[in-house]
Symmetry: C2
Subunit: 345 residues, 2 copies
DNA sequence: AGTTAAAGTGCAAGCGATTGCAATTAATTG
DNA sequence: CAATTAATTGCAATCGCTTGCACTTTAACT
């Protein structure tokens, strides 16, 4: 019955001793710092690597992080209420994580809630950089902390007052116009915008709203076709008579669209015969809804990857004073069964 | 034009000097190591804390992690294909992250793919423990690494050959029986099980299958009512005549149920009048499907939290040689509109 | 007050890498 | 072959905190 070994791992010093060189040489051989131009050094480095492998040497992450002053990881900031990613956010996060992993960077989840606990994570410099997911309410607070610490960061389809941080945007403005054009070409002119209960503070909401108002030529005061409420009361807009009775609805996202489809079917309103529905934020099951949902979509994986790249560049190239860079990605229309010609009568 | 400050943060030594004590005393005062029973020491510790605050001292996470030999973070292992969490997994992860955050632990995302890159993350001892999400295909490889390193870990609704790691299970076996009983009470006797393309290697699949076979009293060879295929070919089972024509289908998850509902409606088969459908893994929109989907559900948030607790206990209590502990959580039935009495005729 | 036990403190040694600098060795050139 | 340049190496400092140990101070008790 042997006592549990303290499980000491082989250190760089042990490798050095065994190889008959100094620890610095081992470090450099293993990290490929030396150019290995000379005849002998190449083979020596080779030998060191071999010995290290034999001894099962693995660099100690904690020691390295401490010495380098970098954690080789970044924080992913997201609202803590629905704590994890929903819908497209899942895919954005997937691309983001995957791209960073490729570059040996890890992603640390940082839920941001009302309690200011997350502040501490910032102060500790727990990570080398930050990515701020869309629809995070506390953007301003978070960005304030980021700027204060002068940390690398990237906003994912989000904005902050200072307009200071680099970001990756999704062209919601043009996207909305494409959606409207699709409906217009089908003959619709009375089009409603169903924003649900999403906060007007969110970048996406603002942009889609702007695109809508501009394309529809509304006086900015007129918002009788812009609905900010939950599913319960949406029907009083759809059921109303008169010349401005809507024949099509644009939903902010599947969160609004799916319940809407349900409610419409409850009221016996046929989609798309009586009413066209188009949504933003394509999800996995959009095509299997009843009817299949016409949506605006974007390459969420790419959004994540580009965000990661923007972040990595800041971290590694040591940009002095962040130069704000903005990448904007397009949306495209996926026509399915929920939109059709405007009903006659 | 001042040069960019190297941004040196105040260290524990600076606080010590200012307070006229040694660094160890500061460390202990700040970490609450001393019991502060004596009259003077309490106020002294108080004073040190005050000075530290004044100077804006923040412990350096990297140094602390290095000194302590712990990273205060855990890895969340999940398949890298659909890279991030889907459906209930999202909620499990949410609970998991939230619970750990409460205990000042961070969650590092570790996508596990075919390339063995993740191995390195293990060897580096990047984190203090691991949580293995359900439906991770590489469970055996991963667990092998975990056991080799003797790391704290928890399996979330998953199994491995050794049967060695603690885990949190969802009672899929009983869940399946509840689902079947619900259908039986409605008069159904010909019930199909739609497993989609899920691998039989997954714990949930095995358990639900076992529950199904046992409750239905099938000879283990008879699997004419167990379908493992995609949506395209599922109809040939549902459309067939004869006495064993199914009148109800149990879907492995919404991934099967949503497309099935769609296909059925395409074929003009009414749910629940002609066919009852019940699914596992309740998701946000189950109630808004057409018809609203009857599902088996469980408290995913709780699964995540319990997993976190199991993991933390191992990490902090320094259990010598992991003692396998299994927590099993129940499922419950949510009756909605997709199940009804067996059709006459 | 004197003795004993408990609590608090400072010293200094880690933790395990990376890296600037000076010295050394190897390659290159006239 | 000597002189010059380039590449490699080892020494030792550094990163900032925690912690075991020996010692001093304070509290508790007879």
């Amino acid at each position: 019955m042997t006592a549990k070994q303290p499980n000491r791992r082989t250190t760089i010093y042990q490798v050095a001793e065994r190889a008959g060189v100094s620890s610095s040489t081992v470090s450099r051989a293993l990290n490929g710092v030396s150019k290995e131009k000379s005849q002998g050094s190449a083979s020596r480095a080779q030998r060191i690597r071999q010995i290290a492998e034999q001894m099962g040497y693995q660099p100690n992450w904690r020691a390295r992080v401490f010495a380098e002053g970098k954690t080789r990881s970044v924080g992913l900031l997201q609202p803590s209420e629905d704590t994890m990613f929903k819908g497209v956010n899942t895919q954005i996060a997937a691309g983001f994580v995957s791209e960073l992993y490729k570059h040996k960077y890890h992603v640390v989840l940082m839920p941001i809630g009302e309690d200011q606990e997350w502040q501490q994570t910032f102060d500790e410099q727990r990570v080398d950089g930050y990515a701020i997911m869309q629809q995070l309410d506390e953007v301003e607070d978070v960005c304030e902390a980021i700027v204060r610490h002068d940390s690398p960061a990237v906003l994912i389809n989000n904005t902050e007052n200072r307009n200071y941080l680099p970001r990756v945007l999704i062209d919601d403005y043009t996207g909305m116009q494409l959606a409207i054009r699709h409906l217009t070409l089908l003959g619709h002119s009375q089009i409603g915008l169903h924003l649900g209960t999403h906060s007007l503070g969110h970048y996406s909401v603002q942009e889609r709203l702007r695109g809508f108002q501009e394309a529809m030529g509304f006086k900015s005061g007129d918002d009788s076709m812009i609905w900010r409420e939950d599913d319960q009361s949406i029907m009083r807009h759809l059921g109303r008579g008169g010349s401005n009775r809507p024949t099509a609805v644009i939903c902010y996202s599947h969160q609004e669209a799916i319940p809407l489809l349900y409610t419409l079917s409850q009221f016996g309103i046929k989609v798309p015969q009586d009413m066209s529905v188009i949504s933003f934020n394509d999800i996995e099951f959009s095509e299997y809804l009843n009817p299949p949902l016409t949506t605006m979509a974007y390459d969420a994986d790419r959004v994540g990857r580009v965000s990661a790249q923007l972040l990595l560049r800041q971290i590694n190239e040591n940009v002095d004073g962040m130069e704000r860079e903005t990448v904007t990605l397009k949306q495209h229309l996926i026509v399915r069964g929920s939109t059709g010609p405007v009903p006659q009568s």
